[in-house]
Amino acid sequence: MSATAALAAPRLARAADSKILRFVPQANLANLDPIWTTQYVVRNASLLMWDTLYGVNDKLEPQPQMVEGHEVSPDFKTWTFKLRPGLKFHDNEPVLAKDVVASINRWMPRDAPMGLPIKKRIDALEALDDRTFRFRLNQPYSKLLFALGKSSSPCLFIMPERMALTDPFKQITEYIGSGPMRFKRDEWIPGSKAVFERFDGYIPRDEKASWLAGGKRMHFDRIEWQILPDAATASAALQNNEVDWVETPSSDLIPLLRKSPGVAVDIADPLGNIGSFRINHLQPPFNDVRARRAVQIALSQEDYMRAVAGDDETLWKTLPGFFTPDTPLYTEVGGEPLKGKRDYALAKKLLAEAGYKNEPIVLLVATDVAITKAEGDVTADLLKRIGMNVQYMALDWGTVGQRRAKKEPPAEGGWNIFHTWHAGADCVNPAPYTALDASGDTAWFGWPKSDLVQAKIAEWYAAPDFAAEKTAIDGLNKAAMDDVVYIPTGFFKFYQAWRTSLSGIVKAPFPVFWDVTKA
């Protein structure tokens, strides 16, 4: 009862308070362990609560955050880092190197794309003194700083040692942070509200903030996350000045919000998202590359994007490549199969050559997620057009999440196709890009296997300079297109909306609360 009473504070009094930010997140914050779960809503809340050793700025460059600096040996195998002085946890205990070591050890096994490769290379990870820790690697890992500061989930958040010693596959039981805001566990009502209050012991860096880098200066005493699962309600609450900021308003309601006085609307994440047509490479007919290419040359990204993001063409574009547009490594080399007029006749011919004989194609569609529902509907139509026998499985996301892990034939509970999307921040280079891994059994769902793709990824890791990286990425893009690791269905963005009384809102792959002020 007391928690419910805490939920209910005088609304009008709060609306006028410039020290309280009322934020509507993209989803319910059901827990707060950013290592145990990789959900983005948890990552976003954790960015308030915990700090990171490095942080990427808006140019995707890792910048020192909790560390003062580092030294690296000439062979790039020994990395020594020193923490900034004065760092404190929310229980006012100092942040020590042993806390960092424990946090890294908990993070590595849960971060398949970057943490695990580092773990495999480690000879020793040790705290040298209270502020210094060292990696000793048995082979160089050129992307170490990016891994320590990346924004994709799971991020390497620094927790007290006693928390970080928790099995990474089990949930932590206390929430002691190292970031600018403290979690108010006593006010937490999962599914309704989460409250963060400013931690006065946090010392921001001197530099100007840029995404996860620089000084994270908080101008609010409290940030209240209000969970509003209904998009129309969230939109109405923003119009009625009951909330200040909606992270992902429904695209359908954007025209209405644009006309509303006191409401501003803009793109949320400039890195956007890449739609994904995920194919099971283990099962016929898509275990034959000709069948995968048949779909690839028939697929119209414009159809997908109009279904996903509507007719507002500022929100989407076609994408003849795997990497995030407008980022340094973006390339269209090898992207021809996704360009130009779609060729159903050739698709049918390729399917026949692959030996397809009208077997049911099991298409898993998460109908409770608007994006996957839209993608699934377009796919069902596309497959019918090229003469495939579609078995449309309308499921919820929880069930798709379970069933996509099955490697059995579709008739025995497996699958052929499902849809998802990848955050553009995860697709800027091969390191965090799980979906592009083509290592077969150990790859992401669909289990693509291509030695050439893997060789190109390795070439990128070993690249000595940007030009070499670019060459590797061109080759990787073409190899992944040729093998049809998966089919990008286009690039799209979401909007965010806020009251014009707020200033300092920036475009980023996550909500950036620092430097936001309220009139």
Binding site: M1, A3, T4, A5, L7, A8, A9, P10, R11, N28, A30, N31, W36, T37, T38, Q39, Y40, A112, P113, S152, S153, D167, F169, K170, Q171, T173, I189, P190, G191, S192, K193, Q226, I227, L228, P229, D230, A232, T233, A236, A237, Q239, N240, E242, D368, L395, D396, W397, G398, T399, G401, Q402, R403, A405, T420, D426, T434, A435, T442, W444, F445
Partner: protein, 313 residues
């Protein structure tokens, strides 16, 4: 009657046990996997499997059911897979908003529906009767969420009288409490009001044609006395029955209403838990709702004796 009530309460135990077994079995065979949701979209199949094992979801059905039942019998509804909070605590957090919504809905619905039904029966065949029945048909056939959006648009966005969403505890004052709850209660209550108004009208029509009503009129009893003292009391048994049956509809409607008006109640807790496959929470909430429903039915049965002394238990 006390012995009867005690027997009925005891009889709820096998019912609740059956519900528990049914829900547990249903969740066991239903597709979906909380481990996949926890692991997130980018997780590897191996990660998902390790999380499933750490949650004990890979153990046999009977062991899981037996453990859960033992804990329930010891007063422990378990711990949420996702929030790591005790299920009883999560239910306690949500009980006030839902109870408040239900009680206010009941008060509003009954205070409107019964007079409407009585008047419609009294003015049978007139424009008043048609107006009441048209309103009832509209209320019964319009989805709760449509009513909810329309009310929010009019009273919050256009007139700026009431908030769009949220809940204020009654401990913060009656006015703020009602200010938040009035729109959801009206939205939810409309269907309930329609149901009761129709039953009241039909039952009253039957009662008003009885001989004793004619006798009361002949004796010069005032119209209000005939309607609300003599006739309504005799029409009460079917009305009370439908109030009880409608309670289940009210629980279902609360799920939608709580989502539309962002009320942190048990309905939303249930939906969130189902979408995430948070098994302990689903089991705890369903168990609680089934107990409440059984008790409401018991209450309805006991009320029969109040309205009709011929009924004995």
């Amino acid at each position: 009657m006390l012995a009867y009530a005690a027997r009925r309460v005891l009889a709820t135990i096998p019912v609740v046990l059956f519900v528990a077994l049914f829900v547990f079995s249903l969740l066991y065979i239903a597709p979906g996997d909380p481990a996949a949701i926890i692991a997130g979209d980018q997780a590897t199949p191996d990660d998902v499997e390790r999380i499933r094992a750490s949650l004990g979801l890979d153990r046999p059905f009977l062991i899981r059911f037996g453990e859960w039942l033992w804990h329930v019998l010891n007063g422990d509804l378990g711990t949420s897979i996702f929030t790591n909070l005790p299920v009883a605590h999560m239910i306690a957090q949500r009980i006030e908003p839902t109870t408040s919504l239900m009680i206010l809905t009941l008060i509003l619905s009954l205070s409107c529906a019964i007079p409407m039904g009585v008047v419609a029966a009294w003015k049978h065949g007139t424009w008043i009767d048609r107006l009441v029945m048209t309103t009832a048909v509209f209320g019964y056939s319009t989805p709760v969420f449509v009513i909810g959006y329309l009310l929010a648009y009019l009273f919050a966005l256009k007139l700026d009288w009431l908030p769009v969403q949220g809940f204020t505890s009654i401990s913060q004052g009656l006015f703020p409490f009602l200010r938040n709850l009035i729109l959801p209660a009206v939205a939810l209550g409309l269907v309930y009001m329609a149901l009761i108004a129709r039953i009241t009208r039909a039952t009253m029509l039957d009662v008003l044609s009885q001989d004793y009503v004619r006798t009361a009129k002949a004796k010069g009893v005032a119209q209000n006395g005939i309607l609300f003292v003599h006739a309504l009391k005799n029409a009460a048994v079917p009305i009370v029955t439908i109030v009880g049956i409608g309670f289940a509809a009210l629980i279902g409607g609360a799920v939608v209403t709580e989502s539309v008006f962002a009320i942190p109640g048990l309905g939303r807790l249930t939906v969130d838990a189902i979408l995430r496959r948070d098994y302990p929470v689903i089991q705890g909430v369903v168990l609680m709702f089934s107990c409440v429903y059984v008790l409401v039915n018991l209450g309805v049965d006991l009320l029969y004796t109040l309205f009709d002394p011929r009924i004995r238990y």
